[in-house]
């Protein structure tokens, strides 16, 4: 069972993540080659068949951006009621998410999904959501998430982390404090030389 860290504590997860059903004929991969959308090389995308077959339960749900785009008319009420959060996959253009909502902060949660630990695009996406697009609500890291990414995720604007199944989330919290005084700025911080007077150290 995946466990959620919110802020610096274990928290109850009140959101249900909606995952489109699998038919066994996935994944669809964009072919490598002369494709203008360079970023889509080799990435898995949901098929129309999967999106059509996705059932959205009652209550607070985290749904893939592709599902939202296909079903937004029927979900508008639930968005207004604060029941919709969006899951962005790392290969999806952030502009697509930003353009899909008149007010990004109408979403109580945005989750960024990484398929594998080594995919560091979530850091850039988190940073941009905070610094460029002014997203103020919960920013959640989901997918192949374990304690070894937490410090970087936190510095990139994330404030909740769904630790993958089988890993100890209690212990993972300590990693949020791995480094006391980082060199860099962050989504809510400035570089160390602007943070304090190093000539006095």
């Amino acid at each position: 069972m995946s466990q959620l860290i919110k802020g610096k504590q274990i928290a109850h997860d009140e959101w249900t993540r909606v995952i489109p059903p699998s038919f066994g004929d996935e994944p669809v991969r964009k072919q490598a080659g002369k494709v203008v959308m360079f970023k889509l090389h080799g990435e898995e995308t949901f098929t129309q068949k999967q999106i059509d077959a996705t059932l959205i339960p009652a209550g607070k749900v985290l749904i893939p951006l592709a599902v939202w785009l296909a079903k937004k008319e029927s979900l508008a009420q639930r968005l207004a009621a604060g029941e919709i959060g969006i899951v962005l996959q790392t290969h999806e253009p952030i502009e697509q998410l930003v353009e899909a909502f008149e007010n990004l902060n109408s979403l109580p949660v945005i989750a960024v999904y990484v398929q594998i630990f080594a995919d560091g695009r979530n850091f850039t996406l988190g940073n941009l959501l905070r610094t460029r697009y002014g997203f103020k609500n919960e920013l959640r890291a989901v997918g192949d998430i374990m304690r070894d990414q937490l410090f970087f995720l936190q510095r990139s604007g994330f404030d909740s982390y769904l630790i993958k199944d089988g890993r100890n989330a209690e212990e993972a919290i300590a990693s949020l404090n791995d480094f006391t005084q980082p060199y860099q700025g962050a989504s809510n911080d400035v570089p160390v030389w602007r943070r304090l007077d190093r000539s006095q150290l």
Partner: protein, 556 residues
């Protein structure tokens, strides 16, 4: 050189603690092999053919004597009493135990050293000219900027897991010695017509499987924006670089795929958001870091020195060494010198613990307690008085560090190759040794003159074979080791990539192949020509013909 303050020291100490716990979790089965891999790589640890390999960072090649003593001690205690200086100006240990690495890192931290980001898909060690701060042709001492970039790139949260490794080089000389064109980002500092410090920014260079020289993305960037511009470039790369195929994941492939104009447009659009923001380097921060790189307390000395001139005139061995290993210095009466780690018959770049201690002592006695590592895999004492050169030479010679072959054929740049590296297709060190044996006559070497031979054991190109005047690449053909030879590569401002001369050779054939290439050069050269000049003038064919066609006369 740079000294850690409380912040630097705390970061490195915290990193040791973090990695100690990660190693514990790996050994306890709490981290899988696949999960531990990116973690150990970013702490310098490879799993090699025979044992792990630990790559210790030497930021922009600068070391203190105290640090080198510590490296010598570590090589003795945790390894087989030697280390290997690499083409990234780092030090590699070939035989540490995985479970000892946290202890090694803890010892390194006591002398302000670490192995952070020496491997893995992140921003690697920043490299620069080994003569930074002392070179007469220097327009700008790049070390303070290298340190500022080092700090910015260390544990950069957004760029912790890039598509592939990312290498940055800085230089501030007319004659580029930092090979900025073969880096993911190369920053060439210069002064414009108004004497303002600017940067020519190169992007998308790199060797490896697909060697490409960099392209200029900004002709004249104000120095204050060095970090924000790098951040814009790497952000575009992090999002758009390929992650499906590691051979196509370097930034050079992205730049080629979308074209420099489109790439530049994306970078500039991103940079518009970052420019003049918190990443703008302030004069105060630049000055603070620069205080660590102020000139050494040089004595006022005459340009000439009688005892030096006497030794030079009376001792041909000393004179030969001075000719090859001693370099001009911007302060009168001082010289920089190279201690050769290319002793014939030894693995290029290797130094024993005893040699490290000797070099550290020499640095203390004669060069303000500092030294440098060059990307040609030698050690440099940068600030030696003319009057001390003879003493240094005698001591270096006794320790096997005074082979007068710098820049000559036997000063071979070579990766560890198949003897150690699990990526290699073929051995590289024995090839270097057999070539050194073929050309063991010093007079002949001096007659051949300036030439660079680079050997890589596989297409990952750690030996930079593409930019060797003669480049040798190990290839694997059905379980046997073969070597592909190229000529015409060159590093520097007029960099070029070599062309393959034809089918590959067995290891046994290599010394005679190099001999034949040299024979053509010696026959064809004009008096002032170096090997590379002759290749560029007459082209490949005469070389190719002589190597492949037996009994063919070399035409004039």
């Amino acid at each position: 050189m740079y000294k850690y303050d409380k912040i630097d020291q705390q970061l490195v100490n915290e990193r040791v603690a973090q990695y100690r716990d990660q190693t514990r979790r790996y050994l306890a089965g709490e981290l899988t092999e696949e999960e531990f891999r990116p973690i150990r790589l970013q702490n310098g640890l490879y799993i090699q053919r025979l044992a792990p390999m630990l790559r210790i960072a030497v930021p922009y090649g600068l070391l203190s004597s105290k640090q080198l003593h510590k490296l010598g001690d570590i090589a003795k205690k945790y390894d087989k009493d030697y280390g290997h200086f690499s083409t990234r100006q780092n030090l590699q240990l070939n035989w540490p135990k995985l479970e000892d690495v946290p202890d090694i890192l803890e010892e390194l931290a006591t002398v302000e050293m670490h192995a952070i980001q020496t491997s893995g898909n992140c921003i690697r060690n920043i490299t620069t000219d080994q003569f930074a701060g002392v070179a007469p042709d220097e327009l700008f001492d790049p070390r303070a900027m290298a340190e500022i970039i080092r700090q910015w790139s260390t544990f950069h949260p957004e760029f912790a897991l890039l598509p592939r490794k990312f290498k940055i080089a800085v230089s501030g000389t007319k004659d580029d010695r930092a090979v900025v064109q073969m880096h993911d980002i190369g920053m060439e500092f210069f002064k414009n017509e108004n004497e303002e410090l600017r940067i020519k920014v190169w992007v998308g260079g790199g060797l490896g499987r697909t060697p490409i020289l960099g392209t200029v993305i900004h002709e004249s960037l104000e120095w204050q924006h060095a970090l924000s511009y790098c951040e814009a470039i790497i952000r575009i790369y992090n999002i758009h670089g390929r992650r499906d195929n590691s051979y196509k994941a370097r930034i050079k492939i992205l730049v080629k795929a979308i074209g420099i104009e489109a790439f530049k447009a994306q970078v500039e659009a991103e940079w518009a958001h970052l420019k003049d923001g918190p990443l703008t380097i302030t004069q105060a921060e630049f000055d603070r870091v620069s205080t660590y790189f102020e000139p050494m307390p040089y004595e006022t000395l005459p340009a000439n020195e009688a005892s030096f001139d006497l030794h030079l005139a009376s001792n041909p061995a000393f004179a030969a060494w001075v000719k090859r290993c001693v370099h001009a210095h911007k302060i009168p009466g001082y010289r920089a010198l190279t201690l050769s780690l290319k002793t014939h018959g030894e693995a290029p770049g290797d130094a024993t613990s005893a040699q490290m201690h000797v070099v550290a002592d020499l640095a203390d006695a004669y060069s303000f307690g500092e030294l440098r590592v060059s990307h040609e895999q030698n050690l440099i004492l940068a600030d030696v008085k003319l009057s001390d050169l003879f003493s240094v030479w005698e001591k270096a010679r006794a320790a096997g560090l005074a082979t007068p072959n710098i820049g000559l054929l036997t000063d071979i740049i070579c990766c560890p190759g198949g003897d150690f590296c699990s990526l290699a297709n073929a051995k590289s060190i024995p090839i270097a040794q057999s070539i050194q044996a073929q050309f063991d006559d010093l007079d002949y070497l001096h007659d051949i003159g300036d030439i660079e031979i680079n050997i890589s054991g596989c297409m990952n190109a750690c030996g930079h074979h593409h930019v060797g005047h003669i480049g040798i690449l190990g290839v694997d053909k059905g379980d046997t080791e073969w070597y592909q030879v190229s000529i015409g590569g060159k590093q520097g401002n007029d960099a070029s990539l070599g062309n393959v001369i034809g089918p590959s050779f067995s290891a046994d054939e290599m010394p005679s192949v190099v001999q034949k290439l040299i024979d053509v050069y010696v026959q064809e050269r004009t008096p002032e020509e170096r090997f590379i000049d002759t290749v560029r003038r007459i082209g490949m064919d005469p070389f190719k013909n002589h190597v492949y066609l037996e009994n063919t006369e070399v035409s004039s």
